[in-house]
């Protein structure tokens, strides 16, 4: 089943661009990474899907229902963690979580307890007294307490220390194992790499590419580094070579294509050292950013 279906969604804020002609499909049970630099339109997309803002044109369905006409019904099954978390400052954490739970059917008190124990969140404190990281934890618990079927995480890890980040990722994986679909927006490629099955890259409001993470890393690109004795055989106009950097005898480049072609070329070269490895997502996508 398609949980998220976005059709040529466009949003302009007056004249300034939000997103343009964006189409994505996410299947049930996927963890979909949504990657792009700041201001690319990641939050705009999520806020459109939650009907916090309205599209200029295009449409979108969640669970097969239109986001605008069936918004309230759809949101029963959605958990949302905004990038910046702000809540009723003078409420206690537990009261805010109970208020949040009161919008959903069923008793969430044991789940609140379980989640806040896991995230080491103190329930008795006032929200205004919490640090940024602790507010983020409140956001995580309130986003998960009603056991949603679809999670929108907008830059969820900012403000969390590495230990908490790991716990949070474990939690998301657990949810995903139960069949929860996750839409994960981030500008940190490393964390998307750790968690997601597929990734969409957004730049200046447009979706540039949607790829399977594994195929991206394994099949497409190799990062090749050489220490050359003598003349350097690699030039930028060779088919498949990109990001070529030369410094003294050190040559580094990305290769995409039939690996044999480049190996034959390298076999004729006198090298003192060579490494061929998987590039990180960060390195792969750098050219989308530039």
């Amino acid at each position: 089943m398609r949980v998220i279906e976005v059709n040529q969604l466009t949003k302009y804020y007056g004249k300034s661009r939000g997103i343009v002609d964006l189409s994505i499909e996410v299947e049930e049970g996927e963890i979909f990474g949504f990657i792009g630099p700041n201001g690319a339109g990641k939050s705009t997309t999520i806020r459109l899907l939650l009907s916090l803002i309205h599209p200029t044109s295009g449409s979108a369905c969640l669970f097969g229902k239109d986001i605008i006409s069936a918004g309230a019904e759809i949101r029963k099954d959605i958990g949302y963690l905004p990038s910046e978390v702000f809540y009723y400052e003078d409420m206690k954490v537990i009261d805010l979580l109970k208020y949040s739970a009161s919008f959903f059917k069923g008793d969430s008190s044991s789940r609140i307890k379980e989640l806040s124990d896991l995230m080491e969140l103190e329930l008795g404190r006032r929200i205004r007294d919490l640090s940024y990281g602790n507010k983020k934890k409140v956001g995580i618990v309130q986003g998960l307490l009603h056991s949603p079927r679809l999670l929108f995480l907008d830059e969820p890890t900012s403000g969390l220390d590495p230990l908490m980040q790991r716990k949070f990722f474990d939690l998301i994986r657990q949810e995903n194992d139960r069949g929860v679909t996750v839409f994960f927006s981030s500008h940190i490629l490393g964390e998307v790499q750790r968690l997601c099955n597929r990734v969409g890259i957004i730049r200046e409001g447009k979706l540039v590419e949607v790829s399977d993470i594994r195929s991206l890393q394994q099949n497409n690109y190799k990062k090749i580094r050489l220490n050359v004795n003598g003349e350097n055989p690699i030039s930028a106009d060779l088919p498949g070579v990109s990001n070529l950097q030369k410094e003294n005898g050190l040559v580094q480049f990305f290769f995409r294509g039939d690996i044999n072609n480049i190996l034959r070329k390298l076999a004729l070269t006198d090298v003192s050292d060579i490494s061929i490895e998987e590039p990180s997502l960060e390195e792969i996508f750098m050219h989308y950013y530039e």
Partner: protein, 268 residues
Amino acid sequence: MSANIFLHEIRAQRRSVITWSVALLSVIFVFFSLFTSFTKDAALMNEVLARFPEELRAAFGLGNMDLATIEGYFAFSFVFCQLLLAIQAANYGFSLLSVDETELRADFLLSKPVSRGSILSSKLAAALLSLVVTNLALMLGTFTAIALFSGATPYNPKSILLVLLSGFFFQIVFLGVGLLISLLARKIHSVTPYALGLAFGAYVLNAFSGVLGDVKLELLTPFKHFDPGFIVRNQAFDAPFLLVDLIVVIVCIGLSYWFYQRRDIPAV
């Protein structure tokens, strides 16, 4: 309408309702504690007032009130209550939806499985209840003050009750107008200047329309529509104005629903 939002809003407004009620009761008690000294020299007082230029009397709403009677004196003091009532109601109107956006928690509320119409209805209902409670407190306080300070002076409770009832309708106008303006603005950073501006603006407009005489500015301001002096003298509301205000409130609230459904919630 969702009960949980309604209850949450009521709880959040509790303190504000108490504060406004105390302020209103203070005005009434201060005025009525001076009532006996006023009536002692009532004839003299009315004579002095009569010598004031008519424009000045009109500006202070003293145009045609007999301060020697409880009804007249109450009508005179109620104008000051009206100012407070206007600020309170405008404040609720402006902040009803905008406060969630300025405090950046609109995302929290609007990502819940509840429609915007239902959010607005719940918040409106909570604000109306707060206004009702405030007016009830004012009513109780007024009759207590009269009993305490007026001695055996006879008065017509119907006039007093009508003036007190007008307070609620008067407030709904400010609530509705404030709400609509708040939705026309892209972002309201602080509610207080807006609320004070609307309330004082309407008050001054009424005062000036008295001074200027010919210019029909009073058509615009609820202070004129619910002139306590008029209500006491006629023992009735000014029906055409009441109708105008009813229409204004319906239009403002109707448009507010329309705008809110279509509103883009500003991000951080």
